[in-house]
Symmetry: D3
Subunit: 243 residues, 6 copies
């Protein structure tokens, strides 16, 4: 199967990193096609960034659909544009936050989330509510690490992350840790060994769910909320969406 | 004061209609500046339309800010992009759905919402949850009237709307009706007389709330969630947002 | 329009203070008629006080109705008797707690409430639940300032209030402050400057909402929950309510 | 022990009826002192009636306290003034709605409530939320029987009640029925036989809970929310509450 | 009446202790039949222990039913197997956690729970949700006292318990304390005197509720969720349940 | 990897059926070991059946652990004993209800559940709450098909099932269907074609999740709620659990 892995940020370093994480867990016959949009912010760290990125991401979804990919993964912890993407695509669309919550709930009673900037906390809480995992989350902690500094992680940044993971476990009662940014995907194994609890990265979790849906012959229901968008006129820089 | 009234759809007819509704209730010294974006769908009827419109709307917010308007109103019942707009703007930003719910809750124990397409129902329910009004809403009813057919309302369309309002009152126990589309703003008075319950239009409600905040010297808190977006690089068609 | 502003406490000093706050924000053609009941406690600081005050307040509502006022404001943060008042009155009835929550939710993601006695905390939480704002509130903090000491505010009392506001912002993450007592209405501007976040007073907020409803031609729905009370016999000191 | 059984309505017929129901289930050494207030509405059927009755009821609580009763029962399904009464009294105060919900939850998975006027439905729902039983209730049904017509129940009124009980069981899935008015207390046995499910009357349930608390040496905690009201000045017709 | 009081643990010391607590509050004509199962763990301290104990407990329910007891009490704070027991029995079945929550809610606005092992906290929270008392609970505190060490309580164990009760009152705002283990039933009086707030033990609370249901002629509804189990074949060590 | 697939019912026909469904979707190197307990009811259709089956199931978990399996699947829609099993096992434990809800939420906005007996409805609702999917479920419908009649499905039984699926889609707005019994696992494909919406079977969903966890190197967190049970004495028929 072919899985389109989308980094909604426009920084190439992040795209390369998540592609590598995804390939490491994919089945031999799963092809990972990693892409980032041609338009938008280099990193997503607030509602404004997310709103802009959300639109450009839909161009990538459309591109993947045109190529007939079998699944799309939105590899940004806010799962931006996921409803719009599910409307646009025939292939299933998986967000990495939702994927990580699902895996975490299978192996712990309460999981903690450790994420980047404090400003993204409301977005994380919103996702926990939306997907129904708020009562299974022991807390969301921000590290105030900038997303771009995760492209190449320095020692001090790693220590900062480690500190909040420890606090999640010892103060909040987290039994497992969900990493709250695609840019942390290469740290899951190392952190898990150091912390002695399961550490879940959403990128790899999403790859396995994409493969699972494929093997189960399940794809987005097009009756109801995720039916294709109605044909209509779009103007200006979105005229290509007119149908 | 100057109030920027934004129709996130790109259809001019709707913009003219809501401008006229807004002017009718505005105080003498409130100037209404009605605008619609230069890019995007002619109407918003699903999550895909909304995601595209949300971005273009932020250009209009930026334009209003540059001109120093005193408030922004997002005149689409989904209150699209409201968090991003509040980050971007210094002036307060009011969504018409939120405004209508507020007014409805002051004059009824349970209000009903009558909206356009069935597909927008989840968005309406999401807003009721987000703003905290779900328990005060007797139900949301779709008319399956297309947004564009509200530019010039035919008799049959009006009858369809009336029918769902009656059902909201008689079957669901609505004590007041919230109109679920900016395009219905010119119908509130007529419907209220016919139905004999208060009928609330969000466009006019938002104008009064904008004036109220102005008189109270209240504007968006820039400490916390609605702080200005971090400066960063945007590429492609959003390069103008780079700072 | 004529707005009846009711102080449900029987202390005249408080009535004078809130009248002055209300007049300061009212439109030129809004007449403020400030009243307090002829019966009841000099201040409301627990459920017992509130139950007693609630009844006497209804006499004032009836008086205002007889005079044909266009709106009633219940200027006590517990919004006492609001359902009963809405049944009794034809003019809309606005509580200052509800009004303050509405304004706060338009300009912040999370607001804090700073109130008087610790014992009133459950009442504040109940109102947040009732109106649907609990999830938008970062916390309610008591100052243990007695209501009557707000008639003429001493320096130490102001400092105590300021301390809890700071705690709400710094410890609870409040992005705006709602003042939890009508007796604090003259402090909003001063506190806002000192705290550098918006500070919302319910008395002035309610005045603007009363004017807004009036301009929108909206008044309490009399079909359903807020229909007029059934005619029946009352005995003893409430015989005047018999119809 | 001595149990003060308060009918907050001023109709003597109802007081006599509930006294008789209470005596029938009381232990031999439990003395039932049935009282109704000297002031207020002859029946409670909306928020306005309840607000007025709530105050007069506190006089009766005070009277019982002066006589040293061991428990108070508020025998009106809205449990009016219960928080204020718990503050005022040293003896425990039990409301019949709360008592009925407790018993119903011990013997069924989902219980239905059958009550009087449609307008009292929001009050019933509010109580279910307040006490935490909303998720255990299959629905609340109004019969639109006036409270006073329950003093002497005619055949047609009984049939109406029976019809809604059947609907609660067959349409809503109720496994037990809670009677939503003190005036129905003499019908529990007859209805239970006819319906073949348990039928719970709050008056008798409250008597047993009052005795239970007494045998367990439990009485209202006076630390915290139910501490005695602060001493203060009351004026006018409530001057007797000044301390 | 005859009340079967079941200790689901297999330790006889606990059975003797709760029998003595129950007898102390029972009416003269209430016979307490205390039993523990012939199979299972000596104490219940995690989900595994509870699952095993739950089954053996059903044998005891069956035994009591065969003898025609009038009520069953499950005297373990997790209220294990209560739904299954209600299906199996004709007599009502009362759990001590549910019973304690009911009594606590009658005499306090917020009660705290003080229990044994930290691992049982999720079970306590689950019960609070299930019965609807979560919003009335100020917090659940574990003492990490092993259940078996409650058979004969040493001074240091009592001090540990006292410490957490104080913390519940002073830090969490508990107005009353619910003891979270049947093995603490003999401490309620002593603790109540020392703490100066009501202390509720579920064993004695359940006895009074059992008597109350009996006097009210109320027993488990057998229509719906608690209907008798369908006849079917059981094999192996549960073959005796075949019908 | 080796996956122990447990049918908690004692009917061999069901075990064979689910083994065959599991094998059909398993990866080539996943070995499916299907087992049913040596003790307990031939089918699980109420809380009593489930309580009995829950215990015997733990023997099977212990057996699988002794053999070093890599995952356990509890193949009964109530996910019986899942917490106890997670404590007992080192390998992850997956319930088929939870697994089905996860897959359904990835491909639909609202899914419906179609299950067996009406009495199991509360158990299904409880699981939806526990896992956090209640708001994503359009409704649970019972077919009143006995579990054992699913071993060999007759035409009339299939029609009954089809009828409720249609009702879930057309009346409740389900966009996908979750099959509420392991015994329906062989019908998913056929029903999906007939209904034209995705149909999710929990047995196959659980197999894919078990493989996913394995590839991600994730297993149950043993710190916190799912730590191994404390060593203690068990008597009678559970003496083998003593440690």
């Amino acid at each position: 199967m072919r899985i389109q892995l989308i980094n909604p940020n426009t920084c190439q370093g992040m795209t390369d990193k998540i592609a590598s994480s995804a390939v490491a867990v994919a089945l031999p016959d799963s092809e990972i096609i990693a892409r980032s949009p041609a338009h938008g912010p280099e990193s997503i760290e607030c509602a404004f960034d997310e709103a802009i990125a959300a639109t450009a991401l839909l161009d990538v979804i459309a591109e993947g659909e045109a190529q007939g990919v079998d699944a799309h993964i939105i590899a940004c912890f806010g799962d931006p544009s996921i409803d719009a993407a599910r409307e646009l695509a025939n292939a299933p669309v998986i967000g990495i936050a939702g994927a990580a919550f699902q895996m975490a709930s299978l192996i712990s009673h309460r999981f903690g989330v450790v994420t980047t900037m404090s400003r993204t906390l409301p977005a994380a809480h919103h996702l926990l509510e939306r997907y129904g995992y708020a009562h299974l989350c022991s807390g969301v902690r921000a590290t105030d690490i900038a997303v771009l500094s995760l492209e190449h992680i320095e020692h001090s940044v790693y220590q900062q992350l480690l500190r909040e993971c420890h606090a999640a476990i010892e103060q909040d009662g987290a039994e497992a840790i969900v990493l709250g940014c695609a840019g942390m995907s290469d740290l899951a194994t190392e952190l898990s060994i150091e912390l002695n609890v399961p550490v879940i990265d959403g990128v790899t979790a999403a790859v396995k769910l994409a493969e699972s849906l494929n093997h189960l012959n399940l794809t987005t229901s097009k009756s109801g909320q995720y039916a294709s968008p109605l044909s209509k006129k779009f103007i200006g820089r979105y005229a290509h969406f007119s149908r």
